[in-house]
């Protein structure tokens, strides 16, 4: 059973096909990568999956149930969470409050404030932000903000987490830390679907990789297969 699958998902903006007849499938427990040059449609695909955008055609199924066209908050409550490329934390709320609101609203069962608080503290510790809970999120440095966004997404107790360029803007040490975080999230039992540009990271962390170019899927396979694929190399070298 695929935890996430999409069939012929399509979205146009104006006359341009941002995502064109893309099929995809993610199995539970996997770490799947999504790569492609800038403008390939990767974030658009994530937007279509998370409910931020509605596909014109095609279907998306999560845990066997259709989620095409559902509102984001419903998809979140079903167990699908995401982070954003441009780190959309709640800037004026404290780090604690950022995660707490997700813990309170992100699940189908209602949690008490005390339970949500407990979870928040645990998650902040999990991502390594203990001690920074009361700072307004805008005062955190970028790597910490990214971790905060991950903690917030995890607070909704997802089965599948979409990470959009978690490692963008990080220096090599921070990238290593982010990779470690990805492994630890996987070890918690969360399936991962990542968009990344940092090739070294994605090659080592992913079980399978999908490649998009101009909105179309041009390759799919293990990191080994992708690294040696003619089509993929052309696309990247040709840029």
């Amino acid at each position: 059973m695929h935890i996430l699958e999409g069939n012929a998902v399509t979205k146009h903006f104006g006359g341009l096909a941002a995502v064109s007849h893309v099929d995809f499938a993610v199995d539970p427990g996997q770490v799947v990568g999504l790569i492609g040059p800038n403008g390939a449609g990767k974030t658009t695909l994530f937007n279509l999956i998370s409910g931020a955008l509605v596909p014109e055609s095609g279907t998306i199924r999560f845990q066997e149930a259709a989620i095409t066209g559902l509102k984001p908050h419903l998809i979140c409550r079903k167990g699908l969470a995401r982070t954003f490329q441009s780190v959309r934390i709640f800037p004026h709320l404290s780090a604690h409050a950022n995660v707490q609101v997700a813990a309170l609203f992100g699940r189908t069962d209602r949690r008490s404030v005390a339970e949500a608080n407990q979870e928040t503290v645990e998650l902040l510790e999990f991502v390594g932000l203990s001690g920074l809970e009361s700072l307004p999120a805008k005062d955190l440095k970028l790597p910490s903000q990214k971790r905060l966004e991950v903690a917030r997404a995890l607070a909704t107790q997802p089965q599948l987490l979409l990470l959009d360029e978690l490692m963008a803007g990080l220096n090599p040490t921070e990238v290593a830390g982010a990779m470690d975080l990805v492994y630890r999230i996987r070890d918690r039992g969360v399936t991962l679907f990542l968009i990344e540009h940092v090739m070294k990271a994605i090659m080592s962390v992913c079980d399978r990789i999908m490649v998009l170019h101009h909105g179309e899927k041009i390759a799919e396979g293990t990191p080994q297969e992708i690294a040696t694929s003619r089509a993929v190399v052309d696309v990247y070298l040709g840029e």
Binding site: R88, P91, L93, A155
Partner: protein
């Protein structure tokens, strides 16, 4: 973890609050009629400012509709005051405003914020025109007489509405829904992605805020004895609500209340000394606040603190 200090602080605060309530409740017993009327006005303004801030504060959706809801309340009292007992009239005014707000919210809150703002800007003008047309076409009269109610009753009703509002606003603010509202104001789409059902929440809070504006309008109408669409549906009430809330500051719960008390008291003095200029002065206050003190009065203390902290860092030791 609550220390002894915080427990003492909240206990002390509670005692103060009870004292204040007792004092206010008993006002007609020891104050002059003029004072009672003045305080009634101030209470009305607090209601307008606090209920406006209840929704527009955390979400950032700026509503210019208070005048419309207030006016609906006024006209409800004018139309129903002869036939129904006062408590029912006030309740119906609240319900009417609630329904209107749900309609407005349902139409506009699912779209970009600007549509909501635009819709509320003209709403008071629209309703005024509709009521005017109705009166000209069907009833043949312009305006109505309102059943008068004695000043002390008006005062107590207004006080009750205010207490209910403060309770509601405080509970919402401190609840998970208050947090959700704030997250909507910070980044609505991100809030949706962490499970907040944004549209119904916005609509309901907006509608609840309208209830108190309508109720306040209904009871205030009984003081005016004659109302017509121009008196009832006046953008001035939206302006005052917004001015007071922003001048007081939206960062703290009591900010709009503080702003309302100061501005309302200022209005009393200005109306007598500069009856032809007080709107000008208030307009300047609003513009100046937005330009130079966007956090309002409650934002002043943190600003001063950070300003002195910066000075300390620049010149340590003075």
């Amino acid at each position: 973890m609550r220390t002894h200090r915080t427990i003492l602080k909240s206990l002390g605060g509670l005692v103060l609050l009870v004292l204040a309530m007792a004092l206010l409740a008993g006002l007609p017993l020891y104050a002059s009629a003029y004072t009672v009327i003045l305080i009634t006005s101030i209470l009305m303004y607090i209601i307008l400012a606090m209920s406006w801030a209840m929704f527009s504060g955390p979400t950032g959706y700026i509503s210019l509709a208070p005048a419309a809801f207030f006016g609906v309340g006024i006209y409800t009292a004018a139309v129903l005051g002869l036939e129904l007992p006062l408590p029912l009239v006030i309740l119906l005014a609240g319900v009417g405003s609630f329904c209107l707000a749900l309609l407005v919210g349902g139409l506009t809150l699912r779209l970009k914020g600007i549509y909501f703002v635009i819709f509320t800007i003209g709403l008071v003008e629209l309703i005024k025109n509709l009521v005017l047309w109705y009166e000209v076409t069907f009833t043949g009269t312009r305006g109505r007489f309102v059943v008068p109610v004695d000043n002390n009753t008006v005062y107590h009703v207004m006080l009750t509405i205010l207490v209910l509002l403060l309770l509601t606003a405080y509970l919402i603010r401190r609840s998970r829904f208050g947090l959700a509202l704030q997250s909507i104001g910070e980044d609505e789409q991100a809030a949706a992605h962490v499970g907040v059902n944004v549209n119904p929440l916005k609509m309901i809070v907006f509608a609840v805020s309208a209830v108190f504006m309508g109720a306040a309008g209904a009871i205030m109408a009984t003081r005016w004895s004659y109302v017509d669409p121009y008196i009832a549906f006046n953008p001035l009430f939206s302006f005052m609500a917004v001015l007071m809330a922003i001048f007081g500051g939206l960062g703290k719960f009591y900010g709009p209340m503080l702003g309302a008390v100061i501005i309302a008291y200022l209005e009393e003095t200005l109306i007598t000394r500069f009856p032809y200029y007080y709107m000008l002065i208030f307009g300047l206050v609003l513009v100046a606040t937005i330009l130079f003190l966007p956090g309002g009065l409650v934002g002043l203390a943190p600003k001063l603190r950070s300003w002195t902290a910066r000075r300390e860092r620049a010149h340590p030791g003075g």
